[in-house]
Symmetry: C2
């Protein structure tokens, strides 16, 4: 019964082909400027074939974003966490988050800006990869509190404060590249430093 499996494999392969063509185009041209026809041309299939694999353009975006979130989560989890210095770990994670956004600005915007615009606020629902990213942040906050580097406070809310900080600076730097920002690295450091300082016990 290897036939069905082979067919399934082939199907999955085309699915991936569509997906990576879509991401490449979304990133280089912007979601708005990419048509189903362009994606189809890139993989040399007819436009309607895509609809056999994805419900519509939004679902295509959805899948691309899911991959991005997986990448982000992976980037964060790869950081060698030093349990004995939770503050430094948190700082490094914050930096990694922002740098991920700046390294893949289009993907970051697709995930955290474009997607919620086209599907009302999805991407962080229970069990989602987005939620896992947030939980990762919270885990580090928890560790800082446990070791009394941070004062006693609501872990979730603190995670949200941190998230707001890194999300804010990331988007500003991406969206307004011509604004006379202070030196980029110094700014990111200051955002993290300020937030961390403000959370200390």
């Amino acid at each position: 019964m290897g036939v069905k499996e082979r067919r399934a494999r082939e199907k999955e392969q085309l699915r991936q082909q569509i997906l990576s063509a879509a991401r490449e185009l979304f990133v280089t041209e912007g979601y708005e400027n990419v048509s189903m026809r362009k994606i189809a041309a890139k993989i040399e299939y007819s436009p309607t074939t895509i609809y056999l694999y994805f419900k519509d353009k939004a679902e295509l975006l959805d899948s691309v974003c899911k991959e991005t979130l997986l990448n982000l989560l992976d980037t964060l989890e790869r950081l060698n966490r030093d349990k004995s210095d939770p503050l430094e770990t948190l700082r490094k994670s914050g930096r990694a988050y922002v740098e991920f956004g700046l390294k893949h600005p289009q993907e970051y915007k697709l995930t955290f800006v474009v997607r919620p615009q086209f599907q009302q606020g999805l991407g962080l629902e229970e069990g989602s990869v987005g939620e896992k990213v947030f939980n990762y942040l919270c885990a580090m906050v928890f560790e800082c509190i446990r070791q009394k580097v941070f004062r006693q406070m609501d872990v979730e809310m603190t995670g949200q404060v941190l998230w707001a900080a890194v999300h804010g600076v990331t988007l500003l730097l991406i969206d307004f590249p011509d604004f006379p920002w202070s030196e980029k690295d110094a700014l990111i450091d200051m955002v993290l430093q300020t937030t961390i300082e403000g959370l200390k016990g």
Copy 2:
């Protein structure tokens, strides 16, 4: 020679009519889902008439955003600033900023998210209203430093840190309404409190 003036007045009137129809539709339906034809239908003119008043759809968005920024600036400037308590003034301004965003979520997104997507990063150029909003923030930071409530530091960079914080929390709350945020007011307060605490001398 009152004819020319009247004609100019009428022209300006129609321009405003187009603009307010556009904003209303942008806000209720979202920029993407509003067509020039819909705007035209709303004001009962032919679609192409709009092009006599605005170069294209992006310029229409541009003008709507400029108005939004003026509103935001006005909202901030109306706050009665208490020179003797620059910290409280700063906190109040921060709150006002976030609340403006939450009160007009679509307008906020149009201005700070959609526009930079359709025109690369415009809106904060020299002399723009956007820049004035940022300068307003900086002026308050400067006052806090001058009165030695904040430690000595780069005013611009500090302003950017503050902006990142309020921008971040505003967008998160708007874009992911279904996420289990902590109580909204408490979260905003904590963002402001944390940032301010982190900047103190």
